[in-house]
């Protein structure tokens, strides 16, 4: 994954300039260089060993036909695992599901998060309590969230959600098998909305007071103030929320494993779940590894764009 760093390019120029200033233009004698590096090395070496070596092994596996149950059946097959992926319609479908689930969750949660943050930014009695209630979904263990939604909320016979729909005359729906992606999105959006709300709220509260006062003095209405002062200020918080949301949500596994098991069929499987299935239920190591490599390449492409954004966000703060 070091390639990501190589791709990042101009975005980090400001960052390295700042570092350069602190570090007196990189010109240390060798002893001083190593004195500076020493505190970094344990963390760096640990991270390289634990995260990069398995990935190199993944690349190796992806060029082989290998079965988890018969470790000796290792044959070099070149790129044929990759060709299989290109022909695999399930892979394409689960890739699409990944995009739908990730973007669906992040965007809906962001819109709800903005609304809630604006509401919570007003002073009213008990605001701290309301905020505490609102962030709680994010603090629930994801495994617990998954079972809470798939059973207590969405179960077709005793689920609370269907009962509520019944009150307004809608027949019970078996959410996890009829609309599996919608069911997963409900649980995910519920969990991630508080996260987005917290970030946006931090942005709202970082607004310069004097500018808002001046706007009020000039008789600018709420909408005017919001559109021309608040929204531009919020922009980088929203960007950061979407970016971090994508990083976390794209790897969603717990909810899919526990709510729908990717089903019916593979209708609601995302890439992490599909790769897991191929490796641990299909025992097809080579195929799963090749998919992993493809996912990493896709991630590098997306991430090298995203990292620019991160660095911009982190730069602005100082």
């Amino acid at each position: 994954m070091t390639t990501v760093a190589a791709h990042a390019g101009s975005a980090r120029r400001a960052e390295s300039q700042r570092a350069a200033r602190r570090a007196d233009k990189h010109q240390y004698p060798s002893a001083e260089r190593w004195r500076r590096r020493a505190p970094l090395l344990p963390a760096l070496i640990f991270t390289i060993v634990v995260t990069q070596i398995p990935f190199l092994v993944t690349i190796w596996y992806s060029l082989h036909s290998r079965n988890l149950l018969r470790p000796d059946s290792d044959i070099f097959v070149g790129l044929s695992n990759y060709l299989d992926i290109a022909r695999d319609s399930v892979f394409r479908q689960t890739a699409l599901n990944s995009v739908v689930i990730t973007l669906g969750c992040v965007l809906v949660a962001m819109v709800l998060g903005i609304v809630l943050a604006i509401l919570l930014d007003r002073p009213f009695r008990g605001r701290g309590v309301a905020r505490t209630l609102l962030i709680t979904p994010f603090l629930i263990m994801p495994v617990a969230t998954s079972v809470l939604w798939s059973m207590a909320m969405l179960n077709p016979t005793y689920g609370l959600f269907n009962w509520t729909l019944g009150l307004v005359g809608i027949d019970p729906v078996d959410w996890t098998s009829t609309y599996p992606i919608v069911a997963i999105l409900m649980a995910l959006v519920w969990q991630w909305t508080p996260f987005m709300m917290l970030l946006v709220l931090a942005g709202l509260q970082a607004q310069p007071k004097d500018v808002l006062e001046a706007a009020a003095m000039d008789g600018a209405g709420w909408w005017r103030t919001f559109a021309s002062i608040t929204l531009p200020q919020l922009r980088r918080y929203i960007e950061l929320g979407i970016l971090l949301g994508i990083i976390y949500v794209v790897n969603t596994f717990d909810q899919i494993y526990l709510m729908t098991a990717g089903g019916p069929g593979t209708a609601s499987a995302n890439l992490p779940f599909y790769i897991y299935q191929r490796a641990f239920l299909g025992f097809d190591v080579g195929q799963a590894a090749a998919m992993g490599v493809v996912v990493v390449i896709a991630t590098i492409i997306v991430a090298s764009l995203a990292l620019r954004l991160i660095f911009r966000s982190f730069d602005v703060k100082e």
């Binding site: 990935f55 609304v115 309590v129 709680t136 079972v147 809470l148 909320m153 917290l198 209405g221």
Partner: protein, 295 residues
């Protein structure tokens, strides 16, 4: 909960631009109370599934899975008793995996953050990029080799395997966060320490660590949350010996008989440590989740 309510973030004297335009105070008041009501409805709505989970945990099984739902019932502690009785090993494993990995993350991460901020190495941004890029590496892409390697090293179903993996999982976040705290330390303080001839360890111990203690606490909180909740590694790399709390929750779902009340009790107890920590440390939570970008 009282601590949480005591931390409404904005300062008291802050103007309220969003209490509607000033076209007559009474209209503003009406809009204001409507908005407040709406806020409460949404807050309670979001919280309600948690409340329902907690209520279900105090029911008997037949009340938990009844249709229509049971709203009034005699609370029982039966489910909690059963859960506490069965979950000992799982809790111990989770405590070790979470606690030890968090300590390791801090031991590795604090010096690294120091070398990326206060006395920086060359190419700071490349190193930072490397760390963050490992967070973008999909875990599924490495799970198979990890499984095979762990099998060959005979450390499958071993809680120390989880310790190592959780340390690697949280270290990049910790490095970024700790760096953002270190960067807030005024240069004069460090210069003073350098003039006094304090070495690295001395500077760390007597000057930096006390100043960034709140930052360390926030970093630890985030690491604890992620490690405590982790499911994917635990599912694939543990069996009976090293299984953690999330695995216990899944194991309460049996194929025979009703289990919803017991499941909710397990889910509630498992989430409780993180819920309480998050309620108490709301501000640190925001900073941690944004990896230090938002103060």
């Amino acid at each position: 909960m009282s601590t949480a309510t005591a931390t409404p973030a904005p300062p008291a004297g802050r103007p309220a631009p969003d209490v509607a335009p000033r076209r007559g105070a009474s209209r503003g008041r009406v809009t204001g109370s409507l908005l407040t009501t709406l806020t409460w409805i949404l807050s309670l709505g979001f919280f309600f599934p948690v409340l329902w989970m907690a209520m279900t945990a105090f029911k008997q099984e037949n009340e938990a899975s009844s249709s229509p739902p049971t709203w009034f019932f005699t609370p029982t502690l039966d489910q909690f008793r059963a859960v506490v009785g069965e979950s000992g090993t799982y809790v111990a494993n989770s405590a070790i995996a979470t606690g030890v990995s968090t300590v390791l993350v801090l031991l590795l991460g604090i010096p690294a953050a120091y070398a990326l901020s206060i006395r920086p190495v060359e190419k700071v941004s490349d190193v930072l990029f490397f760390f963050i890029s490992t967070k973008m590496l999909p875990v599924v892409a490495v799970i198979v080799p990890i499984y095979v390697i762990a099998g060959q090293l005979k450390v499958l179903d071993n809680v120390w395997t989880l310790v190592v993996l959780y340390t690697a999982m949280n270290l990049p976040i910790a490095v970024w966060m700790m760096r953002s705290f270190f960067q807030e330390i005024p240069a004069e303080v460090l210069e003073a320490a350098a003039v006094d001839g304090a070495g690295l360890m001395k500077t760390l111990r007597s000057v930096l660590i006390p100043m960034v203690a709140p930052g360390i606490a926030a970093t630890a909180l985030i690491c604890v949350i992620f490690a405590w909740n982790e499911f994917f590694f635990a599912l694939n790399l543990t069996a009976s010996q090293a299984a953690t709390v999330p695995i216990f929750i899944v194991s309460t779902m049996t194929s025979e008989g009703l289990f919803l009340a017991r499941l909710c009790a397990a889910a509630l107890l498992a989430s409780l440590p993180v819920i309480l920590a998050g309620w108490i440390a709301q501000k640190q939570l925001v900073r941690g989740l944004s990896m230090g970008a938002i103060k």
